[in-house]
């Protein structure tokens, strides 16, 4: 039963996605049985927050996740993302909310992140639990306002490291659009702690007993104190709702009717690889996600969180990041063999990396960092499935974080050393530049399409994202041809010759709009190639569909034609 449900989920999602994308990809005139565009296209909000019945908790085995993804034979998915709208963008959903990618955000807005409160309230904090999952020393508290937080401790020998990177990553992932917990850097006074009567703890011998305040004080005993005697901690607010497990990066959740897109075909989960590489989030696995069954406006549904960013940038949560982290899977048999037989003459690139001597930065650098070769701890199905279009989508978003914004986010991490803060900011900026440079040019990077009125009729304006982001200097030319499009039949007919412009602009042939569909809208398609010998992949055209509704012309479709997988990380 479960398998049938799983298969059905895959099929439904794939069929819907294919209906959207196949129509977009038609290179020549061909008939379709159904319309390519609906009146509500492009859809910017996917209503996957419909009321559903309660679901059971689905705990993922961390060992299985590792073993399955490392050793199971599986072909890397070579199919485009399916949860995108007709512009190739990710609609808002229970997984993702468009933020900096679609609008300007102020630095204050970015720093505010997901936070709805100021952090743990002053006054007594009641210890209510001691979770054993994960490797970071932590315990749960309820503050005077009744809010619950997970208190995470920095490694005693490397103060500030884990807490700063977790806060920085939380702010960035939130601004990108992911759903993340509210994280705060807080000052803990051990004297403000109380222990709830019903908290149990296991001793070294395996016996269970009531937790005492002495237990908590022992955990805190060797934590470095701040000038006022308090201990710096990361307070991560308990996510709302009932936690019902983690989400997996393949398939769909069989008990969630809202979840119809296979997770390894969700653009935001594939594109997460770009942001994870940027921030060295090598622990971006299912275990570090949360599915929470929430209630909102009378509807109950599953919201999907990313969480636990303690192993990002230079931190490995309980120590500095391992130098291998982000460069090599835990197990790569070809590299093990090569390492054995070459007697140390072959050195991995990461072995040559030089790290700052500043301890609060851990092991993070930007010089050896290779966005294409960056890896999680073990193979990640959604990251492996990422294609150049997913990468382009993510790179455009990453490029929107300004240097000033990054410096402000790092400042929010409250590193006590200004030198460390500046160094870390510089590294994050340099790594951002590298991921943007690598992924923004992987497809024909035409972007920001817009129809305006010209002297002789409407014109189509666009820009080149690679030029806009300084990846290359301007200088290429653009070849454009136009086709009429009948949305009811899917028939597309070429109506103009190819014209070449040196500027990113084209006249819209108003007469080329096809017949009206049932909603009265008419369509025309521009096929645009970018000519630059240094980037042969830019010859693959971007097909832009314009819609005329009552004399108002808008952009309804952007099709980059499917993109080759960029994965260099499969381990099969």
């Amino acid at each position: 039963m479960a398998f049938k449900s799983f298969a059905l989920t895959i099929v439904v999602a794939t069929a819907l996605g294919a209906a959207t994308l196949d129509a977009q990809q038609a290179p020549t005139a061909k008939a379709q049985e159904s319309r390519r565009f609906y009146a509500d296209d492009p859809m910017w909000s996917d209503n996957d927050m419909r009321d559903i019945a309660p679901v059971a908790k689905d705990d993922l085995s961390k060992s299985y996740d590792f073993v399955h993804n490392t050793f199971a034979k599986r072909a890397t998915l070579r199919a485009p993302s399916v949860n995108v709208n007709t512009l190739g963008e990710v609609p808002d959903s229970s997984w993702f909310t468009n933020r900096i990618g679609v609008r300007d955000m102020t630095i204050d807005e970015v720093l505010q992140g997901p936070d709805t409160i100021e952090g743990p309230a002053p006054g007594p904090w009641e210890v209510i639990g001691h979770p054993t999952a994960g490797i970071t020393p932590k315990f749960a508290i309820r503050d005077a306002n009744g809010n619950v937080f997970l208190i995470k401790l920095d490694p005693a020998s490397i103060p500030e490291l884990a807490s700063s990177v977790e806060l920085i990553a939380t702010k960035i992932f939130h601004a990108v659009g992911y759903i993340v917990p509210e994280d705060f850097i807080a000052a803990l006074d051990p004297q403000q702690l109380r222990v709830s009567k019903d908290v149990r703890i296991k001793t070294e011998t395996g016996r269970e007993r009531a937790m005492t305040i002495a237990d908590v004080h022992t955990w805190l005993k060797h934590q470095p104190r701040q000038a006022d005697g308090t201990i710096r901690v990361l307070a991560s607010r308990w996510v709302p709702g009932k936690v019902v497990g983690s989400f997996r990066f393949t398939g769909t959740r069989p008990d969630d009717p809202n979840d119809i897109y296979p997770h390894d075909q969700r653009r935001e989960l594939r594109g997460l690889r770009v942001f994870a590489a940027w921030l060295n989030h090598d622990d971006a696995r299912s275990l570090n996600s949360i599915d929470s069954y929430v209630e909102e406006d009378g509807r109950r549904y599953i919201r999907h969180y990313l969480q636990d960013f303690g192993s990002t940038l230079g931190s490995g949560s309980t120590s500095a990041q391992q130098p291998r982290g982000g460069y090599e899977y835990l197990i790569e048999k070809d590299k093990i063999g090569k390492g054995l037989v070459t007697f140390g003459l072959w050195q991995r690139d990461w072995m040559k990396a030089k790290y700052s001597e500043l301890p609060s930065l851990g092991n993070i650098e930007s010089r050896v960092f290779d966005p294409a070769g960056w890896r999680t701890e073990y193979p990640h199905p959604a990251f492996d499935a990422m294609d150049a279009e997913d990468g382009f989508w993510a790179a455009r978003i990453a490029a929107r974080f300004s240097d000033g914004m990054i410096r402000a986010i790092v400042a929010a991490g409250k590193l006590s050393s200004p030198e460390a803060a500046e160094r870390l900011s510089r590294i994050i900026i340099e790594r951002r530049d590298k991921v943007v440079r690598h992924w923004i040019a992987g497809v024909n990077p035409l972007d920001q399409f817009e129809v305006r009125s010209g002297n002789h009729g409407p014109i189509l304006l666009f820009d080149n994202a690679a030029v806009r982001n300084g990846v290359k200097a301007p200088g290429e030319s653009y070849q454009t041809s136009w086709s009429t499009f009948d949305n009811m039949t899917g028939v597309e007919t070429s109506v103009t010759d190819v014209e070449e412009y040196s500027e990113p602009v084209a006249w819209v042939p108003v007469s080329a709009f096809g017949p009206a569909d049932s909603s009265g809208a008419r369509y025309v398609v521009a096929t645009i190639r970018t000519i630059n010998p240094a980037f042969p992949q830019w010859l693959k055209p971007v097909r832009v569909t314009l819609r005329d509704r009552d004399g108002v012309i808008d952009i309804v479709g952007i099709d980059r034609g499917g993109a080759p997988s960029v994965s260099s990380t499969t381990n099969n």
Partner: protein, 415 residues
């Protein structure tokens, strides 16, 4: 029908049904939102709780299991015997921070207790009890009291001297009951000093290894001192060490230097008294970075005794075995003076696996003046070392010397 085939059939059926539903739908009412809503409605009809494969169920159990190798401080022991004891098993009991509900590594006057009992298939047996008092008076001082009762029925002996022959191998039994009191103080982070007093009660007897003669068949008390009987001994030690390795369990840089002076005092038999100086030197030299290293080790055990003294064979220094000459059997060469040196080139083949090529050399002599360059015995080898990010786990060395290949599996780094 395989799962893949079933998936394909379901795929075809559903694609056709969705296409058909879409065609039937009024075009005017159609919208993207409605299409997705229809898909969700269809899924709602087939929802089911998540299920796990057998592999996932097994690994889920593994992740969430209670530790099944320990119970209330009791745990399984799988060895702790010297090489050649054979497969061994036993039980142990460990309790940290006795009297305190919390285990705090920095607790003043913390008391740890460790009891163990084990036996091997070759009849080796060990009972031991150890009490440590840590952080005495909040200072970096550790007091230890150790009691051990060992029965080792098949120890090897080849005769004294560098020229001893492999063909003279015999076995002997050594039973010993030792009580040791020790103190160690770390006045600085890298420096430690220590002292110990031990009462040793060894008994040397017939070996039980059926493959080789027992010791008395080949040797006599003049060629195997102690064979005629051993007194009880009082041993007093003084130790000084400097350790600046980056990680004692699995070092990648730094060095460790230790010298120990000991006096063995035969109770009621002055003819067995002797002094011993043990020197251990270890230096790790990174070659460009921490992933390629040259490790140099030198060890010496020098005995000071009257020329007529009967230094017991069981306390005689030796070379041969996992920490000296890996291409030779443990204690292959024994005499009053022993030196050995090792040079090992190590490289990181994998983050959890180092490979190494090594050369060991060593010799034993009756007096220090007898040491000669030409007398060194040498072996070569290749090894693999398994480790975690911070801890050494196991090693496998394949060494080749003039007496053939010798594989060594060990769970301790270096000496």
């Amino acid at each position: 029908m395989t799962r893949t085939h079933l998936e394909r059939i379901i795929t075809i059926v559903l694609v056709l049904s969705i296409a058909s539903a879409a065609s039937a739908q009024s075009q005017d009412e159609a919208s993207r939102a409605k299409a997705l809503s229809t898909a969700r409605d269809q899924k709602a009809e087939t929802i089911a709780p998540p299920t796990r494969s057998l592999t996932e169920r097994v690994l889920h159990w593994y992740d969430n299991r209670e530790s099944n190798l320990s119970w209330n401080g009791f745990h399984l022991n799988l060895g702790n015997f010297s090489g050649g004891a054979g497969l061994a098993a036993g039980i142990g009991f460990t309790r940290h921070a006795i009297g305190s509900p919390i285990v705090d590594p920095h607790q003043a006057n913390r008391i740890d207790l460790d009891l163990s009992a084990g036996r091997s298939i070759l009849g080796y047996q060990r009972l031991s009890a150890r009490v440590d008092v840590l952080n005495v008076a909040s200072a970096p001082i550790t007091l230890s009291l150790l009691w051990r009762d060992d029965q080792m029925p098949q120890e090897d002996f080849y005769g004294l001297g560098q020229d001893s022959s492999e063909s003279h191998r015999v076995s002997y039994r050594l039973d010993t009951k030792d009580v040791t009191a020790a103190i160690e103080w770390k006045p600085f982070r890298r420096v430690y000093v220590g002292g110990a007093v031990a009462h040793l009660a060894p008994v040397l007897g017939r070996g039980t290894d059926q493959r080789f003669p027992s010791i008395e068949a080949t040797f006599d008390p003049s060629t195997a001192p102690g064979l005629a009987g051993l007194p009880k001994f009082i041993r007093a030690d003084a130790m000084l060490g400097f350790d600046w390795r980056d990680n004692a369990s699995h070092p990648r840089s730094g060095g460790h230097y230790q010298v120990t002076g000991s006096r063995f005092d035969g109770q009621g038999d002055d003819g067995t008294d002797f002094e011993r100086v043990n020197v251990h030197l270890q230096q790790i030299v990174p070659l460009g970075n921490r992933y390629r290293r040259l490790e140099l080790r030198a060890q010496a055990a020098l005995t000071g005794a009257d020329s007529l003294a009967r230094v017991p064979v069981i306390y005689m220094p030796y070379v041969g075995g996992p920490s000296t000459l890996r291409g030779f059997a443990t204690s292959r060469f024994q005499d009053r003076q022993a030196v050995s040196m090792t040079a090992e080139y190590q490289w990181e083949a994998w983050w959890a696996l180092d490979a190494a090529v090594f050369v060991d050399t060593g010799q034993v002599q009756h007096t220090v003046g007898d040491f000669a360059l030409r007398s060194f015995v040498t072996n070569y080898g290749f090894g693999l070392r398994l480790h975690s990010n911070s801890k050494f786990l196991a090693r496998l060395d394949l060494a080749y010397g003039r007496e053939g290949f010798r594989p060594l599996l060990g769970f301790k780094y270096g000496f």
